[in-house]
Amino acid sequence: MSVLQVTDVRLAFDGVIAVDGVSFEVGEGELFAIIGPNGAGKTSIFNVLSGVYRPQQGTVRFAGQDLIGMRPHRIAALGMARTFQNIELFSHLTVVDNLMLGRHNHMNYGALSAFFWLGKARNEELKNRSAVEDVIDFLELEQWRRFPVGLLPYGVQKRVELGRALAMEPRLLLLDEPVAGMNVEETEDMARFVLDVREELNIPMIMVEHDMGLVMDLADRVMVMDFGRPIRTGTPAEVQEDPDVIRAYLGEQHRSVAS
């Protein structure tokens, strides 16, 4: 039973084809990685999935619905969460407020009760604060709780962004370069958290990442993209042996060396 089915998606900006002929499925509890050189269309796929871009062709089925043409906040409400390549946190707000924003759709009260902060509004706030503290505990963010996220170190900000996505209690998590720009220690921390998410929360994930070591260690299956097209999908071991993949990454003349 797959969580997400992407079928034959094509996305173009005028003449420039960003993504073409992309099809894949993500299964229950699976960690699916998308790799490829710069400009291969990996982030564009994420933007199609989360409703930021609208593809010209293809279908995306998630949670029993077709996502094409659906606005981003509706898709989020269905249970799709993502992080961004360049951190997209609300930098003036504290860690707690950022995570509380992740729970926006889990709080069920309107503006009128917000004015009074009694009864339902108060209960919902307290209940969700408690859920946010679980995420803080899970990602070991206790010491940063009250800091505006703009003041935090880069690696911690990345972790807060993961936390905001986890606070949404997603059915599918999209990670866009979770360890980009991190040092070895930060990378290992993040890898541990990604594994924790899979082991303890059992949330299926799609990960775009350039760190090959990390992808080959963590991913169940890998899709390799080049110039907007998928060139191979399979287990890390299969993909590493594929001559087309080696050509895309290392260039034509290295083919003999690799094989």
């Binding site: 997209e88 924003l101 926006h104 902060w117 919902e124 949404m168």
Partner: protein, 366 residues
């Protein structure tokens, strides 16, 4: 938890309205002070402070849409005008010259003024969904001129330029608040009523901004892409911000001229919008207490500049002469906005935070 005031043992304590001991002490102190003031100072200063409290309600409104939700609005004078005319028409008496419906009960016309202004806010809001930044500022600027024209021409409502009409009549439980009675003078009564209203609207606004709704506003302001991807409906929250902001403007507009008792359409010019922008920026964008500080500051500013001619003889106290106090005031708004944007973007509230942090760790600077 005696002796450990910052140790929270429940989320309810941590998320309380006034969650630290100094906050509770300061709030109590300020309320007591404000309630004592009417018995200590003269009536004309009380009127000025009461005007400042009303302006603060309006500034909180502008701060919600501009400071919290990040939608720059130069149209605040328009919404103030809608409130002022709704209140005045509802509570005023039909004179043949201007219309009036004779509903003098303050809570009724106050609520109606807010709601009518909020309605117009919702009408304008779809523009904000399409535009942002300077473009939105230009469109809302257009509202001010549109409003000025309509109010100048619609003399049966407004009394026409230079003539005007009586402001809303404040009556609470059968007591006319704008007339002296056995216990209080008119100025004392109005001061106290305006203070109570400011506390009510201030507390409501503070609750709103620390709720799910306020966080969504901040998300729309800081990064709208991320906001939508985590499930915030941008359109809904932009419309909501405009509605709440205009409601506050309507309430403030209806009360603004009650103290003087008379107003004309010329009051709602671009300068009024600029004054409110100045209140928000000088007080501190994105804070409720900052908006209140800014409003009091800007309201009290003319009182200080009026003293200038005595000190600086080249400034004339009336409309004649090369440099008049009115010009000095207009220039001061601009200069103060620029100075605050450069030196302390968090405004008066930011200065307060610095003072607070200094004393929190005193005498150790770290």
């Amino acid at each position: 938890m005696k002796g450990r005031p910052e140790l929270y043992t429940s989320y309810a304590q941590d998320m309380a309205f006034l969650n630290t001991r100094p906050k509770r002490a300061w709030s109590l102190g300020l309320v007591v002070l404000a309630l004592l003031v009417p018995f200590l100072i003269t009536d004309d200063l009380l009127q000025l402070l009461a005007t400042g409290f009303v302006a603060a309600i309006g500034a909180i409104g502008l701060n919600i849409v501009t400071g919290y939700a990040g939608q720059v609005s130069l149209g605040h004078a328009f919404f103030l005008a809608i409130g002022a005319y709704t209140g005045a028409a509802l509570s005023g008496s039909e004179t043949g010259r201007v219309i009036g419906f004779g509903i003098t009960s303050l809570p009724i016309w106050l609520l109606a003024s807010g709601l009518v202004a909020a309605f117009f806010g919702v009408l304008v809001a779809p523009v904000a969904v399409r535009l942002r930044g300077l473009y939105l500022a230009i469109v809302t600027l257009g509202l001010v001129f549109l409003g000025e024209h309509v109010f100048r021409e619609w003399t049966s409502l407004t009394g026409g330029p230079g003539v005007g009409r009586p402001a809303a009549i404040p009556e609470l439980f059968g007591v006319r608040l704008d007339r002296d009675n056995a216990v209080f003078t008119a100025a004392q009564q109005l001061y106290l009523v305006m203070f109570v209203l400011l506390v009510i609207f201030g507390v409501l606004a503070r609750n709103l901004v620390r709720s799910r709704v306020g966080r969504a506003f901040a998300a729309v302001r800081d990064r709208d892409l991320a906001a939508s991807v985590i499930g915030v409906d941008l359109t809904k929250y932009k419309v909501l911000a405009f509605a709440v902001s205009s409601f506050y403007a309507g309430v403030a507009g209806a009360l603004l001229f009650v103290i003087n008792g008379f107003f004309d359409p010329g009051s709602f010019s671009l300068l009024l919008s600029v004054q409110y922008i100045a209140m928000v920026l000088i007080g501190g964008a994105g804070t409720i207490s900052g908006a209140i500080m800014g409003a009091l500051f800007i309201t009290l500013l003319p009182r200080i500049t009026r003293e200038l001619p005595a000190v600086l003889p080249f400034i004339s106290g009336d409309a004649t002469g090369a440099v008049t106090v009115f010009q000095v005031e207009a220039v001061l708004y601009g200069v103060l906005i620029i100075v605050f944007l450069i030196v302390e973007p968090r405004g008066l509230f930011g200065i307060w935070v610095r003072v607070r942090n200094y004393w929190r760790t005193w005498p150790f600077s770290y």
